[in-house]
Point group: C2
Chain length 452, copies 2
Amino acid sequence: MAETVEQNNVQSQLASISESLNDGTFVQVRKLLHDLQPSDVALLLESSPSKTRNELWQLIDADFHGDVLEELSEDVRNGIISKMVPSSVVDALEDMDTDDLAETLSSLPDPVLQSILKSMDAQDRLRAEKALSYGEETAGFIMNTDTITLRPDVTIDVVLRYLRLKGELPENTDTLYVVNRHDNLIGTVPVTKLLTSPPDMSVNEIMNEEPETIPVDMSDSEVASMFERYDWLSAPVIDKNKTLVGRITIDDVVDIIREDAEHSMMSMAGLDDEEDTFAPVGKSTQRRSIWLGVNLVTALMAAAVSDLFEATLSQLAVLAILNTIVPSMGGVAGNQTLTLVIRGMALGHVSQSNSVWLIKKELAIGFLNGVIWATLIASVIALWKQDFMLGVVIAFAMMMNMIAAGLAGATLPIIMKRLNIDPALAGSVILTTITDVVGIFAFLGTATLFLI
Amino acid sequence: MAETVEQNNVQSQLASISESLNDGTFVQVRKLLHDLQPSDVALLLESSPSKTRNELWQLIDADFHGDVLEELSEDVRNGIISKMVPSSVVDALEDMDTDDLAETLSSLPDPVLQSILKSMDAQDRLRAEKALSYGEETAGFIMNTDTITLRPDVTIDVVLRYLRLKGELPENTDTLYVVNRHDNLIGTVPVTKLLTSPPDMSVNEIMNEEPETIPVDMSDSEVASMFERYDWLSAPVIDKNKTLVGRITIDDVVDIIREDAEHSMMSMAGLDDEEDTFAPVGKSTQRRSIWLGVNLVTALMAAAVSDLFEATLSQLAVLAILNTIVPSMGGVAGNQTLTLVIRGMALGHVSQSNSVWLIKKELAIGFLNGVIWATLIASVIALWKQDFMLGVVIAFAMMMNMIAAGLAGATLPIIMKRLNIDPALAGSVILTTITDVVGIFAFLGTATLFLI
């Protein structure tokens, strides 16, 4: 009867599989794996350290290798493929849809890709090269070529007989495409419309004559945002001559939507989107070191600013104690603005026409934040350190830094986008450098003028 | 002919609309708005400051109010509804699907909701109360009730005649449901199967007898991850008695997938998921102040740790200059780990069975990071400040803090999740407090022992 697989189930299966693995009862593991869906096997592999992952892979029926590979994330998939014999990879790729084939092949390191292409027979190689011919992250790259096309002048009755003869429709077919003799797309017919229309009507009487289409070179993020905005289930892809070349279905778009949404979060923490949670230690350390290196440089820059005020610091140790408060508050406020603007840009809300308004708004928030937190910190410090002037000095620095944070948080992503730099990747580190430098300079500079 | 609406088009429309608004040519604006799809009007409203937003709303044909409202994000929608007369809201809600109705009503502040319910006639109120009866963020809340059900013993020919009589199927219908006389779901029939099967076969011969179902009280995030994992387009929802109560379609799930993915990024920056980029200054300042307040407390805690070493700091001003480097590096490394683990948990990769492995891995990375960055910082400082012992002291502190960062970054989200606290919301601030305190304590503590 009706049955539900919940995440917890998969995790308990994971537990029993890893238990059986530890016990060395491989027959048991093989049986457990056999009963899972390919996407659940993929989840299992992604949830396992690389050693276990390789053991598990050996125990998966080779017939399912292709189905599992297409469900895996890039990093994990590449790790597994690089350990397989090229001829087994070729076997696994055989039944993949064009879009999955393109994705799998394109992410492989070049030497691995070449050795796999070399092991293919001529026909498979042609198919693979065709799949790879569209640029990565374009509509052509994520489309499938298994469209069902109709001629406009046939009756629905004929169409129904044709479909019954075919026996099965490609997965996720919700729309049939109407083309003229040059294969130009001239209309679409939802399958539900075929069901509800009288059999003696002709296709051109029921077809939608102005279908929304996707150019084959549109970027995949733009494709995703159109699917999301217009609630499409599928859309036809056309080339420059308006010839139908394929279709994109929502299940492929869902992955792009998630990846795009995750991209900002991962980038802002200095991580690669595809970073595998269970990658080996050495690989992870290496990947994360770029970001730490950049941060070391900015931390040294902040220290160099403090260094300018060594004389002041040696006279008043209390300044050293309070020196981190203003930069820290500026960093948080600036990152709030930055994150909001980056998300607004990803959703298509921020454009040239409203960016000035947005910058003014964030500047106003910076000013207001400045008033609030300057007052608060001045009171706390005046009470804690029993020094009114010290309170005034830190309040002034807080005010300056909050305004700088609002301004930098709003303008940085807008400027970076215009320069074609990904704001999620470098925005946060540049912002923090600004708020650190302004914060320290304002605090120690004002202190040097008024307290020494 | 085939036509494509790109994001840029919408933004140029936005530009010409705001131009016309400024010129006061409202007739022109009204015309431009009339030609847009509801989702594009929604994008326009979301991309406008609240003053413009209200002006635009007045110019949208009241017949489209409902269609536009259901496309808006929560914050923006509530802002508009709170300015409408209750009776116009009731008119706008009339044609909404149950799931959109539930979402719209549930997010309203209680007084507004009550006044709207009061303006409804008995039938509408009943429908609204039914839509609200399922808990927010459950399958029941996001489902639609417009299922088409079949009996198992009829022939396909009869089904086809029935559907032709109906004339139109509910939006995004890809599957019909087979129920017994108690309305229990006993099978599903994809519409494509109806097209390809011989008309004289009966429904129970072609139906899928073990359909995957969703319990009405499953959380919406879990629903989303199942749709994503199994590439579903729709799924039937059943109650405790296995009675079919509705269906969930992928277009509603796409929104949840994006929101879940964005949630972590927004929370980690101390923002509300629904925060409107163009909200008024006062409202935004207030919303963001909680996070700044929390950060002020942690910054003061870090200052208090430095305060313990006031004597040391007053003897050696160079320590004040370098005091921010170790906490900053620890914060970045810890946040990398934290972000990765939070994402791994969201994807269902991290569970009890592998969390120990994961903590060990991140601890090892922390150790390796420690070795690398301690060596590097020691060399830089020994050269810059011409002081070998100072280099050794900062290297030791860096080593300690990197290990603390890896340990805290991996364990914090796991512990917090077990305590039912959202790690994306508070994880980052707790982590930074730990790396600040450990970093300062290790650096100034070691310096006091060895340099004074």
